[in-house]
Symmetry: C2
Subunit: 247 residues, 2 copies
DNA sequence: CGGGGGGTTGATCTCCTTCAATCAACGTGG
DNA sequence: CCACGTTGATTGAAGGAGATCAACCCCCCG
């Protein structure tokens, strides 16, 4: 985090996620309340933010970077159940421990609120609670969308679906047009993609190669992806919803 | 619905889901408001409650019976993304169409509210919105739990997991002790189970037979299941969480 | 230079799907 | 009352998509 970033982060009105996070609906006085109880925390790539089952004394928003929510079985099988991007919220009111591991996959900055004051706040100010309900409903839709991917799609379709999701987000954030070639960096390793998709990392690697050989995507290095024709990728993903690329 | 059921359903204070549904936190005056805008609808087994994409002019709670939330791809592959039991809520404020098909799998009675008045109500009375947030968070947890099942469990583990979920619900509803043998009727056909689990109906049938032959479950007819030893079934489900049978 | 993390590719195996036959239960109409 | 069709379920045989095991590459860093 540069000195300038640090400066930006002290004032809510300059916050990069001001218009999308839990606080987006707040009136100025509500924002003052939130501002008085907030603090920032930084995590390095690879660092665990919260361990599954551990006590969690805060909730908060991802300001920058990417984190994952994962579940692990006793024998080591793991499934990613959420991908946390800037403006996404971590933690739930009314529960003091996370049932998932939260791991930073890139460097992450979070805007945190201590849980107790936050919980009283959402019972008293409706705008935060309303926004939180909206965000939770969106998360639920995303989770259900993902259940279709996990349960019914082939490995190739899974990869295509994941690439589309990342492309969509990126283009929404960067303000691309949604037309013409799209290109972005994969924030996830092959293994993390496998954990998201319910596959092995070998299968992920093979299917990415296959999509490359088919000309649906092209790679520079291992991580930078270019999509010459988004419609072709949507075809591969078997996305019935036209999806509305920019949604 | 018998005449007595009908009578019971006219008054919120006698409602069987009074203490678990969206209305469970309401003060008497809030309940009066809700009561003034509610109406009941019945659906027969097999009937579609809402078609994916269609306009939805109401939201509401399942009072009795079982319904499913499913997604279907163009080529016919379908994935169940939710199982709706008594007290579960359908529809979301702020959106006028469902992205999923809602289908009654048994006869279903719903307590409905017209969407417009309900939406103004939740912006004005905090208790309904708070309860809705809680329920949505629970749904999200359930969806994420299910992502682990879909992504990482074997067919046998999937079947065991589904049986456990149904057993848990049933025993919570019926007020069983959670100890000793548990027995219940499957509300779902083999095909519906397959759609829930991301399997084929043949695999479902085979794995149920396998669990029966292994003595983990026993069947009377095709639908009535008895579980002599719940711990054994949890073992088969590879449920890391002790699960706390009664949660 | 060694070592380790991340990635690719190959060979083999296996679990689940696919296709198909059969069965039991049930209703319906002649 | 029985032939017939339908629906839900079971079981078998064969094939395939993805897992598993393993070798190897690239690049960065100490």
């Amino acid at each position: 985090m540069t000195a300038q970033d640090q400066k930006l982060l002290t004032d809510c009105s300059d916050c990069p996620i001001r218009h999308r996070a839990v606080c987006s609906r707040c009136e100025p006085n509500e924002l003052d309340l939130l501002e008085s109880m907030k603090y920032y925390r930084s995590f390095e790539a690879g660092q665990t933010v919260v361990w599954s089952g551990d006590r969690m004394d805060f909730v908060g928003s991802v300001v920058s970077g990417v984190a994952t929510l994962t579940q692990t079985m006793e024998d080591g099988r793991t499934q990613m159940v959420g991908l946390l991007l800037p403006s996404d919220f971590i933690g739930r009111p009314g529960r003091d421990s996370s049932p998932y591991d939260v791991v930073a996959v890139t460097d992450v900055v979070m805007c945190c609120f201590r849980r107790a004051p936050f919980e009283t706040l959402i019972t008293e100010t409706p705008h935060v609670a309303q926004r939180l309900l909206q965000m939770t409903l969106d998360d639920l839709d995303a989770a259900r969308e993902w259940m279709l991917v996990l349960g019914r799609k082939t490995a190739r379709e899974k990869i295509a679906s994941l690439l589309l999701i990342i492309a969509r987000r990126d283009s929404a954030l960067q303000g691309g047009t949604g037309l013409g070639p799209v290109s972005f960096d994969l924030p996830l390793t092959r293994e993390a993609m496998a954990d998201y998709l319910g596959l092995t990392l070998e299968t992920v690697s093979r299917q990415i190669s296959a999509l490359r050989k088919a000309g649906v995507i092209s790679l520079e290095g291992k991580r930078h992806v270019t999509i010459p024709d988004i419609a072709a990728l949507m075809e591969e993903a078997a996305d019935d919803a036209d999806g509305g690329f920019l949604v």
